[in-house]
Symmetry: C2
């Protein structure tokens, strides 16, 4: 299973394929070719100084008579944890705040209107350990925790909507933990929050020992730049989850994730992209980068020896469009910012037959449901 | 847009990439590497004599204590129309019967238990023309038309379940047309039929001028070799369609199709594969091959000049598994038979939260539904 040494699928194809073949391969794998964005030179210089990758692409829609193009620039951030997982909690959070602040400043130079960070971005993805302390100390209030206040400043300073996925402690409701994304308006106000609807129960994803499946349904957030939703991580395996965000009107669905090569790398180019195609919206798949080492060893329920890391987070964040085109992925090994210029006029619904499915699904979940099976 | 001259994505990657890179690319794009099947030499000889491609792959599941492996061999057939579209109807049908008989004989040598042909396999895909005659003369009774009787013989002779997608004329119900797949048991009995649930309204896919969306729901057929369903062509764009077949117990879902490069080639590696992952079943995506020329010109609703063909059917049939692995595609340009050995023990459901979605979807289809949109 490849770690950091294999940079990216795209880099490999571009290095080895002759141009005509490369074009055909890209046509089949990536759809319509996207124009590279002409991002400002100072943005590239700052990205280089701060040692992260910067890429930008534009998705274009056909011209219409009655609607003008509805242009929005989104930013996807992927990053390693800058300090080791055994550093003091407060120091880790501060280091992550500093790192993200630097990346957001570059996003602002690029005209980003909506930015989204990776899942549980203020902490190492420590749920593999099944230990409570110190990891649950990373949990914060969604409404007024230090990270939300930090993001409100960013949002207001840069006139940017910020999607901030954190580990939430809900002190208004019994102090329980949730895997939550806070959505902050470009005004700096907290627009609301949304929670992870599906929790994996596989490999080292022991999240179900920390928090439950989300109870907030499928809210969509009306921002100045378009209607957005957040489908956190494992929710991308569930087509119904994407569907309900789309039915509620989402034009862009962010998918902040933390996932590793052994389990999901061959699913990664498929799932968010299929959701964009099926639901006629943009999807933004974001994954963290690197290997995180934990102080104590743990086992993985696979009969293998105890170990101290979760595996390799392979980055590869990308944006997918309703017309089946997609950006290349960011690197598998470096922190990065992906800027995409979207024209929301590309989002258009088609024939759905939802009434039939509502009826069939309502029948299917009844305890006395008898599946439609034809026998000889 | 590439026609027949570009053979396949896989051939291109294998030709140009150094082995270590090829392995990484395949890991990301195809998941776990599949073993090639050791098919009999006489099968390869017959395929070569009849000028079609033959490939075979095995999907393996982990050993269990209480269940034995549940092995089934499926066969996917892709082909050109052997006669020009303006040949007499009866001659075209006979030529297709002969072609398919030859391929099925090779499938039998390979131990295939269930075989599926491409969408509307007894005819050119003439719906682009919007002409009624002679194309509607290709329609037959699903229960006792000449093609069903032909398939019953094949099924009985070779102890093979046959999935036969045809243009159906339902003389028991007002003589209307349907896009239908007939499922024939290995005993030779007609097990039943299923209809295309979603009809494209895009490009030259003028099928909605010939037949309506299917009215048979999501039946699953219990065969001696496993439970199968048939999601015809454009149904693969609809995650709810795959889901309902899966909820009714399908372990293998066939997706007989007729689709062209300009519209769908970048969706092709995504949709059936996502369905296998999301629904924990095998999916078999089948597409026809070649360019079909029609006697009279027609336009495409895109402002372009009238023309006489629908575009290039790019073949590339493949099988996808629940663990995100998949076979390579058959060629983009040649007739072919893809044999896959499946272990149905790979199909295992996970946490679904279907009650929540049944409730939300039932609400969402109400005429007074108010989407969950959070505003500042």
């Amino acid at each position: 299973m490849a770690g950091a040494e294999w940079k990216s699928l795209e880099e490999c194809l571009e290095k080895h394929l002759p141009l005509p073949d490369l074009q055909e391969v890209k046509r089949v794998l990536y759809g319509k070719e996207l124009r590279k964005l002409d991002l400002p030179r100072e943005a590239f210089e700052a990205a280089s100084r701060e040692d992260f990758e910067l890429q930008g692409y534009a998705f274009e829609a056909a011209e219409e008579q009655l609607r003008r193009p509805r242009i929005v620039h989104v930013g996807l951030v992927q990053n390693r944890i800058p300090l080791p997982a055994n550093a003091p909690v407060a120091e880790q959070v501060s280091a992550l705040h500093r790192r993200i602040k630097a990346i957001v400043e570059v996003a602002a130079m690029c005209g980003v209107n909506i930015i989204c960070f990776q899942e549980a971005w203020t902490m190492p993805f420590a749920f593999c350990t099944r230990e409570k302390l110190p990891w649950t100390e990373f949990a914060e209030s969604a409404e007024d925790g230090p990270t939300t206040r930090f993001c409100q400043k960013l949002a207001k300073n840069h006139d940017m909507v910020v999607v901030s996925p954190i580990l939430e402690r809900d002190s208004e409701h019994g102090d329980v933990l949730w895997n939550t994304a806070v959505v902050i308006s470009n005004s700096g106000a907290v627009l609301g929050k949304t929670r992870k609807n599906h929790i994996p129960r596989v490999g080292d994803f022991n999240e179900s020992t920390y928090y439950m499946e989300g109870n907030l349904g499928h809210p969509v957030f009306q921002t100045q730049f378009g209607r957005i939703a957040v489908n956190i991580c494992y929710g991308r395996h569930h087509p119904l989850n994407w569907l309900m965000y789309s039915i509620n009107g989402a034009e862009i669905i962010f998918n902040p994730s933390a996932t590793i090569g052994a389990l999901s790398e061959s699913l990664w180019p498929i799932e968010a992209r299929n959701a964009a195609i099926a639901n006629h919206c943009f999807t933004c798949a974001i994954n963290r980068v690197g290997t995180e080492h934990f102080p104590n060893e743990f086992t993985s329920g696979d009969g293998k020896k105890a170990h101290q890391d979760f595996g390799y987070f392979y980055g590869s964040s990308y944006v997918a469009a309703p017309d089946s085109s997609r950006t290349p992925g960011l690197s598998r090994s470096r922190d990065g910012l992906l800027v995409a210029k979207l024209d929301l006029n590309l989002c258009q619904q088609m024939t759905g037959r939802y009434e039939m499915y509502a009826r069939e699904l309502a029948e299917a979940v009844k305890s006395n449901y008898s599946p439609t099976i034809v026998k000889e």
